[in-house]
Every structure is written in structure tokens, then in C-alpha cells.
Chain length 463, copies 2
């Protein structure tokens, strides 16, 4: 990529808020955009850094957003892209057009350029790559051959490598004269003649060494090398566990091909947690900036699962119509069992999904975890079965009805516990995201079993 | 805190896995612990770093865990504490006893020491502080006066400050001779005579300057100063937004009192997302390592809300017993409306809670967000109302019944949409965590309204 200067932040700081964008500024900007006062818009935007401009672009209504992007077109800071929400970003890219975006990509660090390109459709990707200077293009194309969400997609190619026989002074001189260094870095990577990483020197350590010290005498040898194909979630866990700020990425042979820095990892952690949150609540992704109709569509897909769920449940209930006819109290009580099972199951699914995601749950402690959930399910089933059974018995003055409800609750809550811990583990083993288990599978069974056990027991014992 | 040497990682690396702990090692360790072979245990543990030892301690069954901690007691690396899950950590602290823990705290960085102490009960805190050397104690006690989850609790006191009239060479010399520097650091903070931060020099920038350059000519002036009382969630957002690696923390007057580094922030991001996930699914916290009975108890508290919910719903249904008696089909169809409303509402709540947490949703775009959800609710209500109404009409050969179900679905799904976006906003305004809205408030209303509208409409139009 193009050589980068240190980003000297503008000195004037009109806005005192830490986030850089106050309500007043947004208001003034909206007015200026509505009135078409280009000069004023530029003046208002001038003190903002890229992340702040991104916030402003996201906040604005689609119409004003278009006007602002048009005004900024000739001087569009490419780092704005890296801070934009995916959906808004796509709109801005569409508006700016292939040529301007390709030009902007040439000014980005390689990891940011990849992040920008990889989200585009293949045809758009090809068109944009045609406009990128050939040396950058080769790098980008190579990175794009690695799988999505792999370490290679996160890494930047710009790194600082030194041989272990250099001295501290030599390394410092090299950094003074070499133009093509990363914009920010935190570690020197020490490589052998084959370009395999053999050590690392944190800058804070390097700075405190006498000039004549040999790099090999100061480097830390135990380094975490990240295979280029490693999943980004694994990378994030590794950074988190060992408190890394940067780590070398190696190819299949073990040669260093780039580095990952902690700022990329921070985004991955947020993304992965976000994915779990959304899937557990049956939303595809955070659709906050998605247009109305596509939000509606993506939610409908998930609600369809609920619909099929409830239709199946309704079919079960309809089998018991004569029973309900004889004893309407059953209709009053039957939602209790289904709801309690569903909720208890969701608790177990959530804890299991997160324990899998953070690797707290592994092969070694799996059977212990399952047993624990079974016991919790049993205890809670007995507690709620007892309480609700008693309430129902008094409410309808019918001890047998109470016992049926109590028994059904114990059964359904235990089932929810077992299924809630086993299901995510199974889905994880099939190499799918266990967070989806909450939607299609868990509640279907707790609903069906909830109605079936309660109405079935009632039919058998009470009618 | 005590002066720290650079942590030279052990050279031998028996285990090739990136996480440092293989299944075989755990197996061997379990056997050695069971057989009481202390020597073998120590040999197996020797190549591990603190985070790996923490993983092992967490993995082991409570009984073997106790044996391992006992074996490690005399040489317990205090950094193991910082990697242990809170629940397991408390057990280990209990086992080691006040005196050994206090001694370990003296060997930790100030932020890690605070993290360890703040989770303890007040009495335990006081006892431990009594054993900590007096200088460290004063620092710890001061930090503990700041609110929980504030920036001050995250920061470390060890920082590198230089005046702006120094040269690069002077700064380097200072770092060579000064013993009391942080273990790792990424930025020099430039302060004025009153110790107020006025600039920052990233180490990678410092390293590339000629020795005679003045600090004031190289420092970046636009720095993000973090007030000591700022909430940790805000701190994390700031780091994320501006890609910071470290930032100075200032007291009420604006003097620098410490710094926060990105590794602390990574944990906060994970924690905050985790809290949302758990609350949305009505679990208090990740209770993976919690003992059986306390897990059961904390889940019961949330299930109690579901129970009250369903009891209220049952009360609503019981009002319509005569209606159901006349038309049992209502009992078959009524769970559909409640479930669809509840699920649609959860989708909206989840998206809103996360948009609030990531500050995507603010005052400026609130009304737009609410309107969007209302429209999505209307569209989805019409879609599902239409589909389900038709199915019900054919199923029971009763067009009027289909229309009643369809109408009830439209109403309930729109209600779920409005309430799902407004509720978290209201709860957020009351300075509570909006993620709790999913539990006690959302499903109660979608359930009650779900049953009430469907059965009410049926009673009015069909009976």
C-alpha cells in the first residue's frame, strides 16, 4: 500500500465532548445540509476525525447523508469507510462509484483495504481491483484467496522485521531510514534467514536497551505465531488470553507474512459476541441501519420458524379438543408448562453457547457440565412443579389437576435442561454456530412437549 | 506496586497447541493429582504461563483443583488470579488464605491488584489490605474510593510521563535509568508542570526521531483524556472508536493519575456484551463455574418472573372459560398470537438494546428508529396475520375465526414492535441496564395482550 505519514490530528478542537460529535453540531449540520450551504457544512466537518465523520454519516437521514457524501466526495478520507456500519458503508460506496472508491482503497493500510473489499459482491470487487495500482492489487488478491474470517483477512502486510544478529542501534537506524513501515506498531519481529519469526521485541523493551545490545539477547522467544488460516474468533481468544498487542501471521511454511494488531481484534470480539446475541434472539444481524423492507424481510424469516413452531403446537393441542371441552381449566393452565420449559431451556442454551464461544466448555469438562444442567433442571422442575401444582390445585379445587401440572412441569423443565445443553454441543460438533440452536430447535421441542405432556397426562388421569 | 522485570517467557515449550494446554496434558495431570504424585504435577505445570495454569485450574474438578492449588501454594504466580473466572478465583482465594493472597497482590500491577481486591467482600478487602505494604495500600485504597466499573478501577498507576521541553534523547535516557516504569507501555505521555497531559508520543513514532528532536515537536496534541469517573463501557467505546492502545486517566482537576491499556479494555468489551447476552436470556451472569445450588437459585429468580407472567396470562384466559367452552378451536389457536408477539418483541428489544449499548442509537435518531420499528411491526403483522388468518379459516372452516386471529396478530405484533423499542429506551433513561427489559416487562405484555386480544375479539365477534 501507499506509504503512510503519522496521522497528525488537527489541532483545533471545537467540540469538547469525548465522542467528538455533539447534538448541537449535528443539528447545525442538518440545517446547513438542508439549506445547501456547502461552505458551512465543510467548516462544521473540518475539525472531525474519520471516526467522527462516520458517526455523523450514520446519524443523518438517508437524504441528508447523500448530500453530505456528495460534498465530501473530492476529499473523502478513506478511513471513514473503516468506521462505517456495513450497511451504510455499502450505500456510500455505491454513491461514490467504483473509481473514487478504488482510489481511496489505494490510500488505506492493507488490512483496512481488505476489510473494505471483502464485503463487496464479487463483481464489484473485480471492478474495483481493476482500478487499484498493480502492486497493491497483487497483495489484495492474494489476501482474498484466504477464507473469510481467517487471520489473513485481519492482518496487515506492513511489518517491521529484523534479524537476530543485529544490535539495538542497527534496528533503530533501520527504522529511521526505512520508509515503508506500518503507521503504528508495538513490536519488532525477529526473523531467521528464511523469514520465519523466532522472537519478538516489544518497543518498550527495545527503548530501554543500550545501543550495543544484540537483538537475540533481548528478544522474547516464546511468541504466539498465528497461522494465516486460523479463524478470527480463535485469534481474538488468543489475544485476549495472552494480553497481546500485536502478533505475527505465518503462512503454511511458517514464514511471516503480516501482523495482526489488537485494534482489529477488538472489533472481532465485539462482532462475535454481537452475532451470538442476535442469533439467540432470532435476528440475523444487527439490522439497525438496514432499510425498512430488508429489516422486515430478515425478521420474517426467523418469525416463520416461530410460526411453524406454534402451528405444530396447535396441532398437538387440537388432538386434545375433546379433553379440553370436558375440562376448560386445561386451556387456562396449558401455556404455563410450555412457557416455563421454553424459558428454562433458553437459560441453559445461552450459558452453553457462551461457554463454547469462550472455550470454557471443552471435551474435558463436557460430561460434568451436562450433569450439572440435568440436576439444575431437576431441582428447578421440582420447585416450580411443586409451587404451580399447589396453586393449580387450590385455584380449581382439584388436587389431581395440580399433580398433573406439577408432574408435567418437572418433566418439561428437565427435558429443557438436557436438550438445552446437549443441542448447542451437537450443533457445535457439526461445525455450525451453536447460537442458532435457540431458534429452530429448542423452543419447538419445549413447546410441543409442554403441551403434549400436560394435556396427555390430563387425558390419561383426569378424563 | 513492586517493580516489575520484563516477563521472560520460559523457553521450553512442551505443548505445541496455541492455547498451551492439550487434552493429553490435562489427562496426565489429573492422573498425577489423583495419585498424589506432587513431583510429576510440578513438572507438568512447569512449562505453562499464568493464563494456561488458570485454564487448567478451571478445567479440573473441584477436588483436584484443591490439590493443585495446594501444590502450587508456595510458588503461586499472582497473574493466575487475573485470568481466573470470578467464581473459581474466589474459591482459590479462600483456599490460599488472606496472608498468601495479600503477598501475591503486592506482586501485581496496580490495575490487576485492584481487579482482584474489588471483587472481594468488604471484610475480606480490609483484612487483605492490612497485609499489603503501606505504600501499595494507600494507592489501592485511593483507587477503591472511585465507583465500581469506573475508569479509575481499570487504570494502572505506573505510567511514563515526560515534560514537553525534553528532547527525544533525554526521554530515552530517562527510560533507561528509571526503574519504576510499567511492565509494558505503548505511549509516552507529555505533561505540563501541573502534571496535566498535553500530548502523547507513540513509541513507534519516538523511535524514528533523531535524538535532538524536542518532544513538543513530535507529540500528537489531540489526545483523549479519560476522566477517572468515566464508566468502563464508555472507556471501551472510546478505545474502540479511536483505535487506542493506551490513554491517560485524569482526576477531577485534570492531572494525570494513571493510564488504561487496551488489554483491560478487551476484557470490558467482552464483559459488557456478555452481560447483555445473559440478561436478554434471563440468566444473571455466566454461571458456568458456579456451584450447582447457586446456579439453580439464580435461575429460579428469573424463572419466577416467567411464572408470574404465565399466571397473569392464565388469569386472563380463565376469564374466557365460557367462550372457550363454546368454541374449543380458540384453545388450539390462542398460543399462536402470544408466541408471535413475544418473539417479534424480543427481536426488537435485542436490536434496540445493542444499538443503545454501542451508541448507534442516540437522541438524534431516536424518533426515526421508533418509526421504523412501528412500520416493520405493521408489515410483519399484516404478513403473519394474513397467512395465519387464512390457515385458521381453512383449518376450522370458519372465515370469521380466521379474521379474528389475523386481526389479533396484527395488533399484537405492532404492539410488540412499539413496546420493544420504547421500553429499552425508557429503561436506559432511568439509568438502568436496558437488557433487563426483555425479562420482566416485554413478554408480560405480549403474553397478556396476546391472549386478551384474541380471546376478546373472539368473544365479541364469534360468540
Amino acid at each position: 500500500m501507499v506509504e503512510k505519514e503519522f496521522h497528525q490530528e488537527p489541532e483545533s478542537e471545537k467540540d469538547e465532548s469525548l465522542y467528538g460529535v455533539s447534538q448541537e453540531t449535528i443539528g447545525a449540520l442538518e440545517k446547513a445540509l438542508e439549506d445547501g450551504r456547502t461552505e458551512d457544512v465543510l467548516e462544521l466537518i473540518a475539525p472531525f476525525h474519520a471516526p467522527d465523520v462516520a458517526v455523523v454519516i450514520e446519524y443523518l437521514s438517508p437524504q441528508l447523508r447523500d448530500s453530505l457524501v456528495e460534498i465530501l466526495r473530492s476529499q473523502f478520507d478513506p478511513y471513514i469507510f473503516t468506521h462505517l456500519n456495513e450497511i451504510v458503508r455499502e450505500e456510500v460506496i455505491e454513491q461514490l462509484g467504483i473509481r473514487d472508491v478504488a482510489e481511496a482503497i489505494g490510500r488505506l493500510k492493507s488490512d483496512d483495504a481488505v476489510a473494505l473489499i471483502e464485503d463487496l459482491e464479487e463483481e464489484q470487487q473485480r471492478k474495483i481491483l481493476d482500478y487499484v495500482p498493480s502492486r497493491d492489487r497483487l497483495i489484495l488478491e492474494e489476501v482474498l484467496t484466504y477464507p473469510e474470517e481467517s487471520a489473513a483477512r485481519l492482518m496487515q502486510r506492513e511489518i517491521v522485521c529484523v534479524p537476530d544478529f543485529w544490535t539495538v542501534e542497527q534496528s533503530r537506524k533501520y527504522m529511521m531510514v526505512e520508509k515503508n513501515l506500518p503507521e503504528k506498531f508495538y513490536d519488532l519481529f525477529v526473523v531467521d534467514p528464511k523469514h520465519m519469526p523466532i522472537g519478538v521485541v516489544p518497543l518498550s523493551l527495545l527503548l530501554r536497551q543500550p545501543p550495543s545490545t544484540k537483538i537475540k539477547d533481548v528478544m522474547l522467544e516464546n511468541i504466539k505465531k498465528i497461522p494465516a488460516t486460523m479463524d478470527q474468533e480463535e485469534v481474538a481468544l488468543l489475544f485476549q488470553k495472552y494480553g497481546l498487542v500485536s502478533a505475527p501471521v505465518v503462512d503454511a511454511v511458517g514464514r511471516i507474512i503480516g501482523m495482526i494488531t489488537v485494534d482489529d481484534v477488538v472489533n472481532v470480539i465485539e462482532e462475535e459476541a454481537e452475532k451470538d446475541i442476535m442469533l439467540l434472539s432470532r435476528v440475523t444481524e444487527s439490522d439497525f441501519y438496514e432499510p425498512l423492507l430488508s429489516t422486515s424481510y430478515s425478521r420474517i424469516r426467523w418469525l416463520l420458524i416461530t410460526l411453524i413452531n406454534t402451528l405444530l403446537a396447535a396441532t398437538v393441542i387440537s388432538q386434545f379438543q375433546p379433553t379440553i371441552q370436558k375440562m376448560v381449566a386445561l386451556a387456562v393452565l396449558m401455556p404455563i408448562n410450555a412457557a416455563m420449559g421454553g424459558n428454562a431451556g433458553m437459560q441453559v442454551v445461552t450459558v452453553t453457547v457462551r461457554a463454547l464461544a469462550t472455550r470454557e466448555l471443552g471435551v474435558a469438562n463436557m460430561s460434568r457440565a451436562i450433569w450439572k444442567e440435568v440436576l439444575v433442571g431437576l431441582i428447578n422442575g421440582v420447585v416450580f412443579g411443586g409451587v404451580m401444582g399447589t396453586i393449580a390445585a387450590f385455584w380449581f379445587s382439584d388436587p389431581a389437576l395440580g399433580m398433573v401440572l406439577g408432574g408435567a412441569l418437572i418433566f418439561n423443565m428437565m427435558w429443557a435442561a438436557v436438550w438445552g445443553v446437549v443441542l448447542p454441543i451437537l450443533i457445535d460438533k457439526m461445525r455450525m454456530d451453536p447460537a442458532i440452536s435457540a431458534g429452530p430447535f429448542l423452543t419447538t421441542t419445549t413447546d410441543l412437549l409442554g403441551f403434549a405432556t400436560f394435556l396427555g397426562l390430563a387425558w390419561f388421569f383426569l378424563i
